[in-house]
C-alpha cells in the first residue's frame, strides 16, 4: 500500500504543530488543574482524541477501512466488536504503536503524526494494556513515577533520587484514586488488579488526557471491577477522555457514554447512552441476531468419552465439579482470565501437575505427561499458536510429531505412512499452499491453525481439548476454527474448549460449564435454561 501524496508533508507539519502545542492544555492534570479540568468537562466537552477515516492494511488483511472515532473529555467511549474487528489496531494507531496508512489522528483538534508510542505519550495519550507493564523489583512509588522519578542534588552536585518527594508524590496520586497501599511495597507482590491501578496512577502522573483501557476487566473479580469503575468515574469527572474496550457488553451498557461498534474494520454502529442495550450491541457486532449463531441442536451424542469425576483428585465423586464430554459433543468451559480453565485443560492433558483422575472411554486413567494423554486419545490445541507448532519445521514434520511413536522402526522414519497421511490431511483441511515441505512459519495464520488440527487428526484422537482457540484472531480464522471444531465433533469426536468470551461459548457449545477460581460454578445445556445472560450471571461478571 502506498502512502497518499500529501503524507510526508503532513507528517512534517504535524510534528511542528505538535511541538508548538504540546503541554499547553493539561486537561485532567492533577492538583490545581483538576478543578478547571472538571469544569471544562462539564461546560463543553471538547474532542481530545479523534481518528478520522483511518485505513490500515496488514499483510493480506484490511484491518481498518475508513474508521472515524471521536473521544471527548469527561466521557467514557466504549469501543466494541468481535475479535479481529479492528479494535486493537485502532487503539494501537491512537497509541502510536502502528501508523495509519491513510487518515488523520487529531489531538485536541490538532493533527498529529505519531512516530512511535513515545509521541503519543507526550501528547497525553496513555494506553493501559492487558499485560501490566510494571517493574516487579521496584517499589509501588517508583513504578508510579517510572521515567520521571524526582531527583535532587546531593551536596549540590551528585544527582540522586529524591526519596521523600518520590514517596509523597506517588502517595498523593494514589490517594486521589482512593487506592490505599503501602508505596514502599515491591510492585511484584501486587495482585493483577492492584498493578492495573498502579498503571493508571502512572498515567495520571504523566498528565494523561486520554486513557485507553484494553479489556481492563477481563481478569478482575466483581469487587475489583467495581473499584475500577469508581476510578474511571473519577477520571471522567476530571475531564479525562476514556476509551474502554470490553467484551462484556453489560459493562459497556453500564459504563459507556458513547459506543462505537466495529466490524471487519469498519464502524457499523454509533450510539449514545440510553440508545443501546446488549441486544443492539450484539446485533451490530455480529451482523446477525444471536439465534442465528447458535449451534444447531440436532446432534445425537454418543457414549461419554472423557469424564472428570472431580477437579481435586479426591477419590469421591464431586458432582458439582464433574465434567463429562460425550462423542459428538462440544462442551465449553467459560471462565475469565485466571479462572483456571487453562490449568484444567493442561492437567487433563498431562502437561501440568498434579495429574487428574479421569475416565477415558470407561477406563480410569491419570495422564501424567502429554505422551500418556495422547496414548489415551487426547489432543490439545494450546492457546497460543506458537505453542502448537515448531515454526522452523515443515508442515509434514509438524504433523509427523504426533506420529513418531507410531513408527515401526526406530532407526527409520516411515516416510510412506507419514507422507500419505500428510497429503490426505492437507487435502481434507485445504491447507495452502499444498506443499508439505514448506516451513510452517511461511503459512498464514489460518493455515497454521489447520496444521495444528491436522496433527491431531493424523493421530486420530477421540478427544480434542482447545484452550482459548479463537483468542486474538480475526473473524475469518475464527469462523474457520468453529467449523473445524464442529467437523471434529461431527466425525464422532468429543470437544472440550475454554473461552473467556461468553457469547462465543454459548453460540458454539452443546453444553457449558462456568468456571471461577478453579471451580465449576455452574453448568447449563440446551435442554434447559441456556443463555448468555445466565452464563454471565454465573460468572458474576
Amino acid at each position: 500500500m502506498t502512502a497518499p501524496a500529501g503524507g510526508p508533508a503532513n507528517g512534517r507539519t504535524g510534528a511542528l504543530v505538535r511541538r508548538a502545542n504540546y503541554n499547553k492544555k493539561p486537561v485532567g492534570a492533577l492538583g490545581g488543574a483538576t478543578a478547571s479540568g472538571a469544569g471544562e468537562a462539564v461546560t463543553g466537552r471538547e474532542s481530545l482524541l479523534a481518528a478520522e477515516q483511518v485505513f490500515k492494511h496488514f499483510a493480506g488483511t484490511q484491518a481498518l477501512a475508513g474508521v472515524s472515532v471521536d473521544c471527548l473529555g469527561g466521557e467514557v467511549h466504549a469501543l466494541i466488536g468481535e475479535n479481529g474487528a479492528g479494535k486493537s489496531t485502532l487503539i494501537k494507531i491512537m497509541g502510536g504503536v502502528h501508523r495509519a496508512d491513510r487518515g488523520a489522528i487529531r489531538v485536541a483538534g490538532v493533527p498529529h503524526v505519531f512516530a512511535g508510542p513515545a509521541d503519543a505519550l507526550a501528547a497525553g495519550i496513555v494506553t493501559i494494556p492487558q499485560e501490566m507493564r510494571i517493574v516487579p523489583a521496584l517499589s509501588v512509588a517508583e513504578n508510579v513515577l517510572l521515567g520521571h522519578v524526582p531527583m535532587r542534588r546531593r551536596a549540590g552536585i551528585l544527582p540522586d533520587v529524591d526519596r521523600v518527594a518520590l514517596r509523597t508524590r506517588a502517595a498523593e496520586i494514589l490517594q486521589d484514586l482512593n487506592f490505599h497501599i503501602d508505596v514502599d511495597r515491591p510492585a511484584g507482590t501486587l495482585t493483577y488488579a492492584e498493578r492495573q491501578l498502579v498503571m493508571i496512577a502512572r498515567a495520571l502522573s504523566r498528565r494523561a488526557r486520554v486513557l485507553i483501557l484494553d479489556e481492563p476487566t477481563a481478569a478482575l473479580e466483581a469487587r475489583e471491577v467495581a473499584r475500577l469503575f469508581d476510578v474511571i468515574a473519577q477520571l471522567k469527572a476530571r475531564g479525562v477522555a476514556i476509551v474502554f474496550i470490553s467484551h462484556r457488553l453489560d459493562e459497556v451498557v453500564e459504563l459507556a457514554d458513547r459506543c462505537t461498534v466495529l466490524r471487519d474494520g469498519q464502524v457499523v454502529d454509533r450510539c449514545l447512552r440510553g440508545e443501546f442495550d446488549t441486544e443492539r450491541l450484539i446485533r451490530s457486532m455480529t451482523g446477525r441476531d444471536l439465534e442465528e449463531l447458535r449451534r444447531a441442536h440436532d446432534a445425537e451424542f454418543g457414549a461419554p468419552v472423557v469424564e472428570v469425576p472431580s477437579l481435586h483428585g479426591a477419590a469421591s465423586s464431586d458432582v458439582a465439579s464433574a465434567i463429562r464430554v460425550r462423542a459428538r459433543e462440544v462442551v465449553g468451559l467459560a471462565g475469565l482470565l485466571g479462572s483456571g480453565t487453562t490449568q484444567l485443560l493442561r492437567r487433563l492433558f498431562g502437561a501440568d501437575a498434579p495429574a487428574l483422575r479421569v475416565t477415558v472411554n470407561g477406563a480410569p486413567a491419570a495422564p501424567a505427561s502429554p505422551a500418556e494423554a495422547i496414548g489415551l486419545g487426547i489432543g490439545l490445541v494450546p492457546g497460543e499458536r506458537a505453542h502448537g507448532l515448531v515454526m522452523a519445521m515443515s508442515v509434514r514434520d509438524n504433523i509427523a510429531l504426533t506420529l513418531l511413536d507410531r513408527n515401526k522402526r526406530a532407526w527409520r522414519l516411515d516416510g510412506a505412512m507419514i507422507d500419505g497421511l500428510v497429503a490426505e490431511l492437507m487435502e481434507t483441511l485445504d491447507i495452502r499452499p499444498r506443499d508439505p515441505q514448506k516451513p510452517v512459519s511461511t503459512l498464514s495464520g489460518g493455515n497454521q491453525q489447520k496444521v495444528i488440527f491436522a496433527k491431531w487428526l493424523a493421530r486420530e484422537v477421540g478427544v480434542l481439548l482447545l484452550d482459548e482457540p479463537t483468542h486474538g484472531i480475526d473473524i475469518g480464522a475464527k469462523t474457520l476454527i468453529h467449523r473445524l471444531m464442529h467437523d471434529f465433533a461431527a466425525r464422532g469426536g468429543a470437544i472440550l474448549f475454554s473461552s473467556s468470551e461468553t457469547l462465543e461459548v454459548v453460540s458454539i457449545s452443546d453444553s457449558v460449564l462456568a468456571m471461577k477460581k478453579g471451580e465449576v460454578v455452574a453448568r447449563m445445556d440446551r435442554s434447559g435454561d441456556y443463555s448468555e445472560k445466565r452464563l454471565r450471571e454465573a460468572l458474576g461478571g
Binding site: 502429554p370 505453542h387 515448531v390 519445521m393 514434520d397
Partner: protein
C-alpha cells in the same frame, strides 16, 4: 497461479536454496583462491593434511551440531577431549588397548550425562552448566595427570592416528563412518525429528507428546561421547595423552556449527553444513599458513570470518 507466478516462485525458491548454500560456496571460493595463490595447496600431501587436521575437530563438531540443533550448547567438549585422551592413554599403556579406547569414550559419555542432567533436572542454562563442567573437567584432568603428558603408548594404539587403509588415513575413515551414522540419526529417524522439534520449540514439542528432557539429555550424551572419541583419536595421533590439549575446541566447534548455518536458538541445522563450517575454519588456517601469514594475524582473520558469517546469516533470515 499463473505461469509467470510459478516462474517467479521457482526463481525465489532457487535463490533461497542458493542462499542456504553460502557456506559451501564460500568454501569453494576459499579453495579456489588458495589454489591460485599457492601451488602447494592442492598437493595431495596438503589435502591429506587438511583432512586429517579436520577429522578430529569434525568429530567434536558432529556432537556439537546435535546439541545445538536440540536447543542446547556445550562448552565442556574441549576439556572432555583432554580427559578422555589421558584416561585412555593410561588404560592403553597399563592395561589393554581396546579397553582404553572404550573407557576413554565412556568418560565422554559420563560427562554428557552429567551435563544433560544439570541442564534438564536442575534447569541451569546450558551455557553456564557446561562452563562449569568445562572448568571442572579440565581441573580433574590436570589433577589426575599432575599436569604431565602420558607417554609410551603401544604401537597398536598409535597406529589409529597414523595408519591408513587403501591409502586413506584411518582418521578420515572414522570421521566418514561417524558422519554417515549421525547424518542418518539426525535427518532420517524419528529421534532426529524429536531433536529438531525440542530445539525449535520446547513447548510445542512437549505438547506433542515428546519427552523433551530425555531428548535434551540424549543430545548432551551424544556430544560427550563424540568428544570422548575425539579425545581418544587425538591421543593416538599425538602418541600421548596430554592434559592441556583440546583447549578452544569448544569455541572452534561452535563457530563451525554457526558457520554451517545452524541456529544458536536451536531447531535448525544440517550436519553436512557443519562439516562445511569446520572445513572452512581449517582450510582458512591452512591457506593462511601456506601464504606465510603470521599466526596472530590468522586468529584475527578467523575471528572476522566468524562474525561476518553470523551477521550474513542474520541478514539472510531477515530476508
Amino acid at each position: 497461479m499463473s505461469a509467470a507466478g510459478t516462474r517467479t516462485a521457482g526463481r525465489q525458491a532457487g535463490l533461497h536454496m542458493l542462499s542456504g548454500q553460502i557456506p559451501l560456496l564460500a568454501l569453494i571460493v576459499l579453495i579456489a583462491v588458495s589454489a591460485l595463490v599457492s601451488d602447494r595447496f592442492l598437493s595431495l600431501q596438503n589435502i591429506s593434511n587438511v583432512l586429517i587436521q579436520t577429522s578430529i575437530m569434525a568429530v567434536v563438531v558432529i556432537g556439537m551440531t546435535l546439541v545445538i540443533v536440540g536447543g542446547g550448547f556445550d562448552l565442556s567438549v574441549g576439556s572432555v577431549v583432554a580427559l578422555s585422551g589421558c584416561i585412555a592413554a593410561y588404560v592403553v599403556r597399563d592395561v589393554d588397548t581396546t579397553l582404553g579406547i572404550v573407557v576413554g569414550t565412556l568418560i565422554g559419555t559420563a560427562v554428557g550425562v552429567v551435563n544433560g542432567l544439570i541442564v534438564t533436572k536442575l534447569r541451569v542454562n546450558p551455557f553456564i552448566a557446561t562452563l562449569g563442567t568445562m572448568v571442572l573437567v579440565r581441573g580433574a584432568v590436570l589433577l589426575i595427570t599432575d599436569g604431565r603428558p602420558v607417554y609410551d603408548l603401544p604401537e597398536g594404539f598409535t597406529a589409529i592416528g597414523g595408519g591408513n587403509l587403501f591409502g586413506v588415513h584411518y582418521l578420515i575413515w572414522i570421521l566418514a563412518l561417524l558422519f554417515v551414522i549421525f547424518h542418518w540419526i539426525l535427518h532420517r529417524t524419528p529421534y532426529g525429528v524429536r531433536v529438531f522439534a525440542s530445539g525449535g520449540n520446547r513447548e510445542a514439542a512437549f505438547l506433542s507428546g515428546i519427552d523433551v528432557d530425555r531428548v535434551t539429555i540424549s543430545t548432551f550424551v551424544w556430544c560427550g561421547t563424540l568428544a570422548g572419541i575425539a579425545g581418544v583419536l587425538l591421543a593416538a595421533r599425538l602418541e600421548s595423552g596430554n592434559p592441556t590439549t583440546g583447549e578452544f575446541y569448544e569455541l572452534t566447534a561452535i563457530a563451525a556449527v554457526v558457520l554451517g548455518g545452524a541456529s544458536l536458538y536451536g531447531g535448525e541445522g544440517k550436519l553436512y553444513k557443519s562439516m562445511v563450517g569446520v572445513l572452512i575454519m581449517v582450510v582458512l588456517g591452512n591457506s593462511l599458513n601456506i601464504m606465510g601469514v603470521p599466526s596472530y594475524w590468522q586468529r584475527v582473520a578467523i575471528g572476522v570470518v566468524i562474525v561476518a558469517a553470523a551477521a550474513a546469516d542474520r541478514f539472510r533470515r531477515r530476508g
